[in-house]
Amino acid sequence: MSAVPVNIWIILASALVTYLTRCGGYLLLSRFSRIPPRVDAALNAVPAAVLATLVAPAAVFNGTAEALTLAICLVLGLRIPMMAMFAVGWALIVVLRASGI
């Protein structure tokens, strides 16, 4: 079998595609005077869309403690800085799980 574990390959390939995104825009898009609006809209939507798919199932398919934590964090996150929300969320999940909800 291969001497290099698959994890290493995954990491190195991830590094390569990340680097490509970091120079690709300069190499490709800077040749156009402007990005087509719908392409721009799609690119703008990518991070929030991807990240939302990691949150929503976590809220729905875990227990009550997890759902409650994310619900409270959602409300808090609209009002307080992310780091504070994160700290409260961490405390909440520990306490709610310990309480046996």
Binding site: I11, A15, V17, T21, G25, N62, C73
Partner: protein
């Protein structure tokens, strides 16, 4: 040389808030990487070569499940795709940085690096390699160190569930989603991606809910009426 030294020092000073803001996440990455089955060396390698916080977290989330390797790489690519916009926007302002140095500079083009470079350029300063690396290197070096420290610490924890560690990524991702809320069509995109991912989770199963849900959100963004709004490229909440 003193001019260049000054630029470098100025960059280092500009980097300090980012170094502090990224610290918890750098440590958290190391701890969670180990929790998700990576070795300490692998966690450090990932921080040192990928150097993109949100995508590293997404990567290790998928390492923990039985996911095809190419899909992990693709997910990292999808999360980092926004950098295309950064290098397109910033590249035009990096005329002072020649050839291979520019290629090196792009490796360090994180969200805060982009934000800081745009801000510096906005104030009328030219973007020099000395300032750029003064800004980038402290963030980078500390980020890699934190992966190592976090991984050492994480490998000592036997029951991560008791400390809620297994659920921190979900909270963290929620924070990132909220950080993008200034963007056009944010609510419809997030709603479509959320509903799409839940439906796909039931009908198709993990990990396809990520790609399918994201596609639902992106499709909504493309279908929405186009408004003459400038492309957003601010740092949002992502430390690295």
């Amino acid at each position: 040389m003193s001019l260049s030294d000054n630029e470098f020092r100025r960059g280092v000073r500009d980097s300090l808030p980012i170094v502090a803001a990224a610290a918890p996440f750098g440590l958290l990455f190391g701890a969670l990487a180990v929790d998700n089955g990576l070795g300490v060396g692998e966690a450090v390698l990932m921080s040192a070569t990928v150097f993109a916080g949100a995508s590293q977290m997404v990567g290790i989330e998928l390492f923990g499940s039985e996911v095809a390797p190419w899909l992990i790489v693709f997910s990292v690519f999808a999360v980092n795709f926004r950098h295309v916009l950064y290098s397109a926007a910033l590249g035009r302002k990096m005329g002072l940085i020649p050839g291979w140095r520019k290629a090196l500079a792009f490796f360090f083009l994180t969200d805060p690096q982009f934000a800081a470079a745009e801000a510096r350029s906005e104030k009328g300063f030219p973007l020099t390699m000395a300032w750029f690396m003064g800004m980038a290197l402290p963030v980078y070096v500390v980020w890699v160190l934190e992966a190592w420290l976090g991984a050492l610490f994480g490998s000592m924890i036997a029951n991560p569930e008791i400390y809620g560690l297994d659920f921190l990524l979900a909270i963290y991702f929620l924070g990132l989603v909220l950080g993008f809320r200034g963007r056009a069509n944010w609510l419809p995109v997030v709603l479509a991606a959320s509903v799409g991912s839940i439906v796909a989770y039931v009908l198709v199963g993990s990990p396809w809910h990520v790609s399918l849900g994201a596609l639902a959100g992106i499709a909504v963004a493309v279908a929405m009426p186009v408004r003459p709004e400038p492309a957003t490229g601010e740092a949002e909440n992502m430390p690295v």
